[in-house]
């Protein structure tokens, strides 16, 4: 019947965003504590729904990413004083995830708190982990012989609270393409903050669902209804789909997210303003093209053009052009 499935959950654990999310002036304030308890309930549901289901939890902290839990590396069974009233696997997951998050948050000092969130690292780790469990290789001297037929359907669920980080455009796109190659679905649940363009594209390109949480007090219900069913089951269910998908990209020069860009024909680097030299491949563009492009966009975008001109010398390409 339905195969076992694997979920790699990527938790966005940005302290500042979670602080903002819990402020009472939000329409539906959601504190990190209640978020975590709902997510743990979801993880338990996943484990309970089929015995072979596997799970991995990754945390994206400011400036780093950590694997919090994986079912193939069961934690050292130190906490033997288990509560007899709780199903043991649930307890292991819950305590492990919570203690690891606590440990990692302890390690973060104030300076690091403002570092960009390590979502890309968590995402690529999830992919590497999925690659490991779906391609059991011979070179690992482990004796576990896994039948490829029973290997789980892998998918990734990203619970995001941070806004888009435009510097991570290329790594995120690369992760999306490798997810496509591994046939991994990326589901995104946007818990707090504005829609992120890149994660929308990730969900769209890998066939996952992107859910923007409006009623944030109903997080668990959203998770259960739209992210718990396996991809095979989803065809039969009315899983919310995306309204619009924004195919915007980030430019390479100022990391702005743009809808009309200037593209180098040699290496396809995207720039938000006409540049004389491609900063990636050092191609020089013909003066005529520059003049034509500048002239065409000048009337409509005068202020932007001026800003681009002043900021042009700051592009990394220019100082080295005389070579």
């Amino acid at each position: 019947m339905d195969k076992s499935s694997h979920i790699s959950v990527v938790l966005d654990l940005s302290p500042s965003q979670w602080h903002l999310s819990s402020l009472p002036h939000n329409p539906y304030p959601l504190s990190f504590k209640s978020f975590l308890s709902q997510v743990l309930a979801f993880l338990n549901l996943h484990i309970a729904s089929k015995h072979e289901n596997t799970l991995a939890v990754f945390g994206a902290f400011p400036g780093k990413s950590v694997m919090l839990y994986s079912s193939s590396n069961p934690a050292s069974d130190s906490s033997d004083s288990g509560n007899p009233n709780i199903y043991r696997p649930f307890e292991i997951v819950d305590s492990r995830v919570v203690t690891r998050i606590e440990e990692e948050l302890e390690l973060i000092d104030d300076k690091e708190e403002e570092a960009p969130i390590g979502l890309v690292g968590a995402l690529t780790k999830a992919l590497c982990y999925i690659n490991r469990i779906t391609h059991p290789t011979t070179s690992t001297q482990s004796t576990i012989v896994e039948d490829p037929a029973i290997l789980p359907d892998p998918r990734i669920l990203i619970l995001s609270v941070s806004p888009d980080l435009s510097t991570s455009y290329i790594p995120i796109m690369n992760s999306i393409f490798s997810a496509q190659k591994l046939k991994v679905i990326i589901d995104v649940c946007k818990v707090y903050g504005p829609n992120t363009v890149f994660l929308e594209q990730a969900a769209h390109l890998t066939g996952g669902s992107y859910v923007y949480l409006e009623r944030r007090d109903a997080l668990l219900q959203h998770l259960v209804m739209s992210h718990l069913p396996s991809p095979a089951l989803r065809k039969l269910m009315a899983v919310p789909t995306q309204e619009k998908i924004d195919f915007r990209a980030a430019c390479f020069c100022h990391k702005n997210i743009i809808d009309v860009g200037f593209v180098c024909s040699v290496c396809l680097s995207i720039f938000c303003a006409p540049v004389p030299v491609c900063s990636t491949c050092r191609t020089k563009f013909p003066i005529k093209t520059l003049q034509r492009l500048n002239a065409s966009r000048a009337p409509a975008l005068r202020p932007v053009n001026g800003a681009a001109k002043t900021s042009a010398p700051s592009t990394p390409s220019l100082p080295s052009t005389p070579r």
Binding site: F177, T241, R248, C267
Partner: protein, 447 residues
């Protein structure tokens, strides 16, 4: 599945049997001796200019490199060879070279009677059709903005099988019906190349023009002087590559050498595929301006304006599209004039803006920003902290060296540890290959 996992490169310089071992391992045992035989012979043939014939080279005692482990089994040695092969590919230069990414390729298929030869199973014709299909799929995967056209050589004529198209389905459809392509007569290299050249004449200067010829015959019947065609190809900067199935022909070799293409004679089925698939990654562009000095402008380069659209779902309100004037709900909105077009990439019919979806562009960025090669950790030095498990997949590392013999020269780590030079995290062999082949993004530093 990583794209090129099965596409082990054949290292032209090595005379050891490492390649042959694992390649003939997958193939039938029967053909083993023969394959090695022919490989040897043809290698001498292909590289006659710079290297002595294979039988003149010193003999490589390839069996000496394979050692049994303590248990007397060869499995570890074989696993080691495989890991080494994968690793060797990674050691290719990782600095960013300029590559032409907007590619235009015409594949010329030989449809002459010589393709019915059965020296490749089932026939040369069926095999080349099959490989052409795989080639096209993989080519579009790696060159998303490229276009492919197909030309056949049959009965002394060039025959257009499909127009230049950026849609892999269109191209695949053209060669899906075998009975329409039934080989006949003699091939004409000149007619086919002229036809391919003609269909690439209008292309913009900043794109690459390439011709790939799969050539099974040893003859060509041409109406004129084929060297004039060659001159014209050089003038138009068309890169011609030939994969010959029979033997090397002087004129084919000339075509490849003078236009900067690659020439190869397929020795067996596996090698045929390797030769084809080597042509998939975008070729490094011959840099014109650098030789001419800093002041020169590369005429091939240009800055293009492109728009990244918004995609409407099929649940949105229907509206007329500008390309077909049909009432449709799904579509893409031009970011400049908000006109609705059916498909991307295209030029907006209203404002003329080139509309592409940004994932199309992003697919090729890993060529531009490759991950730095990881350094193999040779030994665990005392005093420094070493992670217990792989930073990416959390697989635990072995404590003691597992390799039965030292292979440090080829960049193998006896500990199975590879370290990123930037973030100093350790990764296992699988993740090393996976990160460099598929993800193109280091999990440690996120770039």
């Amino acid at each position: 599945m990583p794209p090129r996992k099965d596409n082990e490169y054949i290292d032209a310089d090595s005379d050891s049997d490492v390649d042959i071992l694992d390649e003939s391992g997958n193939r039938g045992r029967k053909s083993k001796g023969k394959a090695i035989d022919r490989r040897r012979k043809d290698k001498g043939k292909g590289k006659s200019s710079e290297q002595p014939y294979a039988w003149e080279a010193s003999y490589a005692r390839s069996w000496d490199t394979v050692q049994e482990d303590e248990a007397g089994s060869l499995t570890t040695a074989v696993a080691d060879l495989l890991a080494r092969n994968r690793r060797r590919r990674l050691l290719a230069p990782a600095n960013a070279i300029r590559r032409t990414i907007i590619r235009h390729l015409i594949i010329i298929l030989d449809l002459s009677l010589s393709m019915m030869d059965r020296d490749m199973r089932p026939t040369r014709f069926d095999l080349s059709l099959e490989y052409a299909r795989e080639f096209i799929v993989e080519w579009f995967d790696q060159n998303p903005l490229g276009q492919i056209g197909l030309v056949g050589m049959r009965a002394g004529l060039g025959e257009r099988l499909s127009e230049m198209s950026g849609n892999s389905q269109d191209v695949l459809k053209a060669i899906s019906e075998r009975h329409k392509l039934e080989p006949a007569g003699e091939p004409s290299l000149q007619n086919a190349v002229e036809m391919a050249r003609g269909s690439m004449g209008h292309l913009p200067t900043h794109s690459s023009r390439e011709i790939l010829i799969i050539f099974g015959s040893l003859t060509t019947v041409d109406p004129g002087n084929i060297h004039d065609t060659l001159e014209a190809c050089i003038r138009d900067r068309i890169r011609v590559s030939v994969v010959a199935l029979a033997a090397e022909m002087k004129v084919c070799r000339d075509f490849c050498d003078k236009t900067g293409g690659q020439f190869g004679v397929a020795m067996n089925e596996g090698h045929f595929k390797d030769l084809l698939f080597e042509l998939i990654p975008p070729p490094a562009q011959r840099v014109l301006s650098r030789a001419a000095g800093a002041g020169a402008t590369n005429p091939a380069a240009d800055l293009m304006v492109m728009g990244f659209p918004v995609r409407l779902p099929d649940t949105s309100l229907p509206a007329l599209c500008v390309c077909h004037s049909e009432l449709k709900s799904e579509g893409f909105l031009c970011p400049r004039c908000s006109a609705k077009v059916c498909d991307v990439p295209t030029d907006c019919d209203i404002c003329g803006l080139m509309i592409v979806s940004s994932p199309h562009l992003a697919r090729s960025y890993h060529h531009l920003f490759p991950v730095k090669p990881y350094q193999a950790i040779i030994s665990l030095e005392e005093g420094s902290a070493f992670a217990k498990s792989c930073h990416a997949c959390a697989r635990s590392f072995p404590d003691a060296p597992t390799s039965t013999f030292t292979a440090t020269a080829e960049g193998m780590s006896p500990l199975g540890r590879y370290r990123c030079p930037d973030c100093h995290h350790d990764f296992c062999t699988e993740c090393d290959v996976f990160v460099h082949d598929v993800v193109h993004c280091c999990p440690g530093c996120g770039k």
